[in-house]
Subunit: 341 residues, 2 copies
DNA sequence: TAGTGCATTGAAAGCGCTATCAAACGACGC
DNA sequence: GCGTCGTTTGATAGCGCTTTCAATGCACTA
């Protein structure tokens, strides 16, 4: 049984009220008494019981983070970012992954109802009526990550992929001078693919460039399928002096490897650019020109927003837009590429 | 203010004791009364206050997971595994990353003293006196991940890398017939490098093969440095018909790319194998023969052990050894490689 | 009718903390 | 000497829950 506030009080010959005052530092305590209490605390190795405290204050200093069952870098980067900031602000982080098929409502209900967390950051892969309904039920500060739920009053953090995608494509068109660009994305329904594709169309139109029917491919974000597509297409692409805009780094890597396997040079025969700036981007040869998506910043920002709302519940709901950033490496064949990055 | 047990009691016209009995299901409650209470609970959307409950039961059903500030796959895989199992067992997971330089004691103290968590899984990158001392202080069920702290009574989960490494090297020697194998590891002080190197030496000796002075290289687990080493060495290696055992997949990828860049064929001119079976392993061309390290199982096992001890505190400390597993793909040049995996 | 046993329920005592209110005390001006 | 004030402290009422113990009601036996 760990020491309680009563034990400290006894040892310091004061009442528990005084100990509490010393602990919370709000009220004035005589210098001499404080010293006595503090040394009693240290002697006993006392630290206040979180449950008792939470029961009174209705604060746990724990934040919940609800994520879809992501693999890989995104998952860990969000957690890392959130965790770091939470630590800085004196909070702990409770993580819950939702299984892929679940819409998140079940788990979010659990977490929120459970009543342990002071605030909640939620990332939902699939927005639907049930999701929305369960979000409405949350009565603690809530931040939605990377997904826009219309009509609900809560803070959100999104990443503006479009800006980065536009910058990337303008770079291909204006700086590198490509006239034909193929797009390789994920499923047509995928939100990221939609964003990136729309940037692609916009820039192509803006530059007055043609988008042929066969220039847009919908795959599954995997290396292998992109490699297979590459095997079939790289010769044709290189004959047309194309660039390929893959909607993530993994597919870009697959296409590069397919090109290399076909005896082509990247970027001389074919330029390939990716998206996300994951670990992979610096592992391909040539290194990938891509767009950096600030995942860990998103985690950190979510924690920030929750804490701000915790301090000031009246603050109007805000939407924080994080910019994605063009990272130029060698795979675009751009002369200004700075070798390493 | 969420409804309390009193609200439920009022609505069902019973005392709070009865409501509590219904909630916990330990004591017998009249069928009819139970129905009334249950519908009152549902009507009010009541769920018990965790703090009040924790205060009585001294259980939060939250487990702590303390990890070094890892990037990438390991980090997220451990969390994923732990999280899944925790969910299955009705626990929540609280994550803390420790900054790289920290020895973990500070944070562990925070988490444990704080008193929120019922149990703790800790992964320490650096074992020293301070770490050991702070581990001793933990009074709740503790599981140490992937690190052996001598003399402390607690459960631990380790991954037997050596078995996998031995299997890998025997495969190179016995099945593929390589007589010269170079080793590319991390720093000499790195625990993983030590394990993998010792497996290397053991198998080489067992097979009566020579290890030349220049056959062992200590790098930093990075792609780039491995690539550079590769650029300098691949020709020589291939002349000797060597295989290269890289102590992780990333370095293996670097060496493969260096070999390809030098116009060599992998595995025909040079075989390269890796370790860890990360995402990278299936992204290289040829795909990597490597050793799978069950990170997510480690997370799950940690949660299991904590919960077992929670149920039965008297259980003797146990050490769970997870086996690593040889994964044969194409990069070893072994005829039995099954193309895809 | 009184006594016994069982099933069901309620009253009340904490768990360890914070917060409110009142008490104690010396200093001060009148 | 007496009220007034400011400083410091203690007593105590909960927060929402579990748990112990006692009370109630009823069937059954003697």
């Amino acid at each position: 049984m760990p020491p309680s506030i009563q034990d400290v009080a006894d040892r310091a010959n004061v009442s528990i009220s005084t100990v509490s005052r010393v602990l919370n530092g709000r009220n004035v305590v005589n210098e001499h008494t404080r010293k006595r209490v503090e040394s009693a605390i240290k002697d006993l190795g006392y630290s206040p019981n979180v449950f008792a405290r939470g029961l009174m204050l209705r604060r746990s200093h724990i934040l919940g983070l609800v994520l879809p069952d992501l693999h890989g870098e995104f998952y860990s980067e969000i957690i890392r970012g959130a965790n770091m900031r939470a630590r800085e602000l004196g909070y702990k982080l409770m993580i819950s992954s939702v299984v892929a098929k679940d819409d998140g409502s079940e788990l979010m209900a659990t977490v929120a109802d459970h009543g342990v967390v002071d605030g909640l950051a939620v990332m939902i892969s699939e927005v639907n009526a049930r999701t929305r309904a369960s979000l409405e039920k949350v009565k603690i500060p809530l931040v939605v990550l990377d997904g826009d739920i219309g009509g609900v009053r809560h803070d959100s953090v999104v990443i503006d992929q479009k800006m980065g995608a536009v910058a990337l494509l303008r770079h291909l068109v204006n700086d590198c001078g490509y006239r034909r660009i193929a797009f390789v994305g994920g499923l047509v329904t995928n939100i990221d693919t939609i964003e990136r594709l729309s940037a692609y169309r916009a820039v192509m139109e803006e530059a007055g460039l043609e988008v042929a029917a066969g220039d847009i491919h919908h795959l599954d974000y995997q290396y292998d399928t992109a490699y297979e597509l590459g095997v079939r297409r790289v010769r044709e692409w290189s004959r047309r002096r194309s660039a390929v805009f893959a909607a993530n780094d993994e597919m870009a890597a697959g296409i590069i490897d397919a090109a290399l396997a076909a005896g082509l040079s990247v970027p001389d025969d074919l330029a390939v650019v990716g998206f996300d700036d994951t670990r992979i981007a610096t592992m391909t040869r040539p290194r990938l020109t891509t767009v950096r998506v600030p995942m860990s910043s998103m985690g950190a920002a979510a924690v920030d927003l929750i804490c701000q709302r915790l301090e000031n519940p009246k603050r109007p709901a805000s939407k924080l837009i994080l910019q994605s950033e063009l990272v130029v490496r060698e795979s675009c064949g751009c002369p200004s590429a700075n070798g390493r990055s």
